[in-house]
Amino acid sequence: MKRRDFLAGAVGALALPGTALAQVDPLDPLVRAFANGAAVRKGKVTLVLPQLADNGNSVPIRITVDSPMTAADHVKSIHLYSERNPVPNMANFYLGPRAGKAEIDSRVRLAGSQRVTAVAKLSDGSFWYDSAPIVVTLSACLDES
């Protein structure tokens, strides 16, 4: 980003307090890149993680998206991002109206205490996210376990 663009953005943000709030969220730049400039709003998505994991090699995770899952209004995909893993995009799940319910459970590896983010892409093209912090005592990947 050029300095001029940044300043223009900052001035714009000051002029509109609503958008200024939206711009200070701690969203991963990768998530922004994934949304390709579209707004990624907080809401609709619920990410459930334990607050503390003794072992980062297998951490249960649940992502639920509030959606009627009809042909006209459904979740197209759910994307999981880690702040500290060597591979930040942990997984992508592709669903459709035939899922009936937008909920995924899995187990992930986490390389240390961090914030995990789940982003959902809806059929109308909008993006929603939720994130959750987790403390990992024994981190995966880097401990040679």
Partner: protein, 106 residues
Amino acid sequence: MAARIQIPREARRGDVIEVRILIQHPMETGYRHDDVGHLIKRNVINVLSCRYGGVEVFRADLSSGISANPYVQFYTVAEASGDLEFNWIDDEGQQGSERQSIVVRG
């Protein structure tokens, strides 16, 4: 590569059913070393898909960020009697497949 699929045996048409799959796979991250200090090559399942009656209802791109013996649970609407067929492939090109049938009434 063995896998265990858990779905209800029977359902009524239109029911949202829970589908679980657990695949036996090391999901080798590519960041670990063996006893003599050589890096162990990455070998993870990249793609896992589920077809129901021949139509894809679920797909996942996985990475080294998913635990060994990957477990995934999702939902699908019981449309008609038939098979849920899972297919997956790992970095070494090994393919796995498993299917489970369901009877749909009503």
